[in-house]
Subunit: 305 residues, 2 copies
């Protein structure tokens, strides 16, 4: 690819920088970021591959938005305050229309999440591969980990779960709800809302947290394993959107097994107040493994690989 095209690509992303944590942004060998005094760096990386993590005909605005939101969700799950992000973008060609739309979606997500772009790398390759690295900060010792759940804690989740799995069923033409329900669910898949503000509020309150990317059961399985506890869920308590509630048993299955919701699942000691917008869905017990309505359950969530 010619140097003109290379410069062109940089231009699309140049304007997404700027933010008080960024001391030096795009354009040098590396970015320089300030961390609040006494805080630790929280860093995570997520890759989206076209045709694997999103359908090839997804609007590029949505691809850009979703790529950042998915990565930012890991900061929410740690209770981190957002600082900045970087983008490693591999493309088969420099398609101007695609780049314009992708960068607009990315810019919107950068603004929504408080994660200005601090740097990146653009490369040519046989497929579209988008890797976003996110940086956050939190006071030393205050990060929400997976290994702190204790018997007696409540198991809670933000928002509603299963919507993204239902959206995938729509995209793959396995399910045909009404157009209004379909629009709401597709928006949930394409424009997930990382629960950054809630994650920060859970610092010092939640004993463990994870974001629902693989599926509620799979992700709660990670907390159970890391914490050395059992988790018992009450399926009637699962927070379902109206479209999923109308889908009956299938809706509940999507809520338990489907991934990509990017809600937070967390454990809360009995004495802590349940934050607004969250639902109490189960209990942490002595032992190991997961159960739903008293029956053992396996964590057959979506696997990325």
């Amino acid at each position: 690819m010619s140097s003109n095209e290379f410069d062109l690509i940089r231009r699309y992303f140049w304007g997404l920088g700027g933010g008080e944590a960024i001391r030096l942004g795009i354009g040098d060998d590396a970015a320089l970021l300030d961390l609040p005094p006494g805080e630790v760096l929280v860093a995570s990386v997520d890759t989206l591959v076209e045709g694997v993590h999103y359908p090839e005909d997804t609007f590029p605005e949505d691809v850009g938005y979703r790529a950042l939101a998915v990565a930012a969700s890991d900061l929410a799950a740690m209770g981190a305050s957002p600082l900045a992000c970087t983008l490693a973008l591999t493309l088969p060609a420099a398609d101007e229309l695609w780049l314009q739309a992708f960068s607009e979606g990315l810019a919107r997500a950068c603004a929504d999440c408080g994660l200005p772009l601090a740097g990146g790398d653009t490369t040519r390759g046989p497929a579209t591969v988008i890797t976003i690295q996110v940086f956050g900060a939190c006071p030393a010792g205050a990060a929400l980990r997976r290994d702190g759940a204790r018997p007696g804690d409540r198991v809670c989740v933000t928002g509603t779960v299963g919507d993204a799995a239902a959206a995938l069923a729509i995209l793959e033409e396995r399910w045909h709800p009404g157009p209004e329900a379909a629009a709401v669910l597709l928006e949930r898949f394409n424009r997930p809302t990382p629960r950054l503000a809630l994650g920060e509020r859970l610092r010092g309150a939640a004993t463990a947290a994870i974001d629902v990317s693989d599926g509620l059961l799979a992700d709660l399985g990670h907390i159970a394993a890391a914490s050395g506890v059992a988790i018992a869920l009450d399926s009637a308590a699962l927070p379902l959107s109206p479209a999923l509630a109308a889908a009956g048993e299938q809706g509940r299955a999507w809520a338990l097994g489907g991934g990509d919701d990017y809600e937070l699942a967390f454990t809360l000691p009995a004495e802590a107040a349940l934050p607004e917008g969250c639902t109490h869905i189960g209990e942490v017990r002595e032992g190991s493994g997961l159960s739903v309505d008293g029956e053992p359950a396996d964590a057959s969530g979506y696997r990325h690989f």
Copy 2:
């Protein structure tokens, strides 16, 4: 890909973590890193695509080594002390032999560079795409940037330049030196040495620095443009390895235009001592642009995109 294969991949990289800066490594939603008090975070990301940035028949040990070394070189160019790295790896399939060898090369580079693996993401995709993010630290205000070169400074470079371009000529069967020279040059391409210790020593001494990834002229062009100065090189002063010196004019062309050496090019005030292992190759002057032996030169280095 099945969950067993997914777990398998994680196993190859699990052991590469650990390091005093890593408070929480692989296995949670994000990594937690400690930054030395009063220092800023230095972050950079680099992607290698199979068949674009390295030939498809490259030994996977070398791919793993080179992927990290190339990214670490950006920390050297900023004068940063290395802290940790993350890996985003996209693969068409989980080939155990490839993964074993790749992770061994990566582990060697992690150890050589002082950059333990703090986290990552593994995904399935149509091509092998390796994105490495590196983290370093340096005192606020001490980072080596591209924009500080001043008229009267000397232009200097570490090691020898042009070797990686010569290696590419060997790999593409455009050049056939003796087997001993070929082995030395191919090692330079496959196992570049990021100049981390020298970068740290240049803090407070060099006025600008960059690593030679696009080519000596192209990269010095970035310093000249960012600093608002002209740079004049003396081609007779270029440090060439014995194999390149024997290649005559072609050797000098590789030294000026070829990329991928990952040496440091930097500018040094007249009063500062030239560090060991470095060569004085030109001068910073008033004006703009590059010249070689008094003739204007364009920065026709290797372009990544």
